[in-house]
Symmetry: C2
Subunit: 323 residues, 2 copies
């Protein structure tokens, strides 16, 4: 089963959202235009809008209201990816050249800024003040998360707590907000909003941990970038942290690499192999599953519905996802 099969019935609306995103980053400006359309073509799962739409099904579902949340949330995500690639010095994303690599860091900085500004502009069409607060808070938290990522890059003195806090800000928060705001703009009960926010948070944590696992176990073709890219860029994720605790020789190897800020070559294939041998993948999957169970628990009190079923399926899908 594909992820999109779970919410097949939302397809027409997702296409409309996609179109809105396209129309809104149409800058009528050569560099921005090209950079944005390059970004758009690179695709993406548009998972944040999907969460917004599903959450909105718990209230009065009206796409004209929902889009003022769904589109900004996806744009904020897209803008943050463009800036992330500057931080990570990343050449490829989803098999396509990143903006910072196709143009340069400066263009990436401003394309990201432009997309953020557009996101905020669109959000102003929604007249719910609570929404603006939540969105703005999320952006502040995300920014702090990115600064943490810079600080933690190539830092070998990390622990699980630092990692979890980082991915909370980096990923879980925006997915949590997507669920919460979808319910909010649809006028769902506060209790429903709260549970969906919790669900989104746990699913987001599991989603990022799974992403971090896949970076080690996926193939270059599946990932759209070489396996082990996270570590190569100095981002120490859960499997690596676990493996470093278990294997002292591997720890030494990775620390040496990080201490040189990744300037010296490392045999990533053998590092990946060694990480796997520590049981790090199995352990990380267990952590992801723990979060997924919490996500499912958050859904329990909600009334049975097509949307609840889809959210349940998505959580299960994330637990099994292979790419």
């Amino acid at each position: 089963m594909k992820l999109t099969d779970i919410y097949w019935y939302l397809r027409p609306d997702i296409i409309k959202i996609e179109k809105e995103i396209e129309n809104n980053i149409d800058a009528r400006h050569p560099v921005l235009e090209e950079a944005s359309s390059h970004l758009l073509k690179a695709g993406g799962k548009r998972i944040r809008p999907v969460f917004v739409l599903l959450a909105a099904q718990f209230g009065n579902y009206d796409l004209n209201t929902i889009k003022h949340v769904a589109v900004p949330l996806e744009l904020i995500h897209m803008g943050s990816l463009v800036h992330d690639d500057v931080i990570d010095d990343a050449e490829l994303r989803r098999g396509k050249k990143t903006i910072k690599s196709k143009w340069d860091n400066r263009v990436a900085m401003y394309t990201g800024d432009y997309i953020f500004a557009k996101a905020i502009e669109l959000a102003t069409y929604s007249d719910n003040p609570e929404l603006h607060h939540i969105l703005a808070d999320a952006m502040v938290e995300m920014c702090i998360g990115e600064v943490e990522q810079i600080r933690d890059q190539f830092n070998w003195q990390q622990n699980f707590r630092i990692y979890l806090r980082r991915i909370r800000r980096k990923t879980a928060l925006l997915i949590s907000v997507s669920c919460q705001l979808g319910a909010l703009v649809a006028g769902a009960a506060p209790e429903v909003q709260r549970q969906l926010k919790r669900y989104g948070y746990y699913v987001g944590m599991a989603f990022q941990i799974t992403d971090d696992i896949l970076d080690f176990v996926g193939t270059e073709k599946e990932l759209g970038k070489p396996a082990g890219s996270d570590l190569a860029q100095g981002n120490v994720t859960l499997p690596a942290l676990y493996a470093m605790e278990r294997d002292r020789r591997l720890n030494y190897k990775i620390v040496s690499f990080l201490q040189q800020s990744g300037t010296e070559a490392i045999d990533m294939k053998s590092v990946i192999q060694q990480i796997k041998q520590t049981g790090a993948i199995h352990y990380s999957k267990k952590v992801a599953d723990m979060y997924l169970n919490k996500a499912l628990t958050a859904l329990e009190p909600l009334p049975e519905s097509q949307a609840k079923e889809a959210l349940t399926q998505i959580a299960k899908y994330i637990g099994d996802r292979k790419f």
Copy 2:
């Protein structure tokens, strides 16, 4: 006379605004904290908050309402300076090391992002939807302006029109919005808002042109960076554009320099001398004066008041300013 003498009576409120800015970029996060406080200490004229306060005097002046506009506007300005320094590859601003030079481009990118996000967060405390639209539009325009600046950097095929459009987005717009929003949040009549918006636009244009003149006529001590920095960073401003039209040999010299993206050394002292000899400074001053006259005309229909007098004085001050 100093600029601050014009609005001396606002001093207690400006101190409060300054304090609010300080409290709000207090990130409780090592890198951000340091970078932001470095930025704060570098000072600045805080001219945007001043315009907000003065414009608010045309309505019901209440600092608690006004600050939700004044602080975000200054933060947006500060954030854009941090990102500008990345674009301009600038080492110094106001005699202090820039964030990109004290840390690096990545820290500058994220410090700017964080400050922008904070600005938006604070603006959400104001519940006027019109305000959010105007602010968001301004941010989008500013972003496009910055992209234009990248595009135009080291580009020798420019004209006055391109220059004016660029400074409109870069400077005039935010000052215009400061005046407009100050009047808006104070509940001033729409006609008053409109005139103040016009005033701000013209004053902003004159302000930037004067800045661009000073970059050639100021001393390193006055400027806090070497004279001719704009041109050295590939930013071709009005005096240079005028001089290039007038002096063919100088044109050739500057074009060669720009074509090499500033990689080859240029005798900036002699270039500045030659620019001055074409009458470029006199011409640019005349253009600035033209905008200042328009600014004063925009004020005319407004009722006589302390604020109107101060705005008049500020326009005149900009025409005479030496640093």
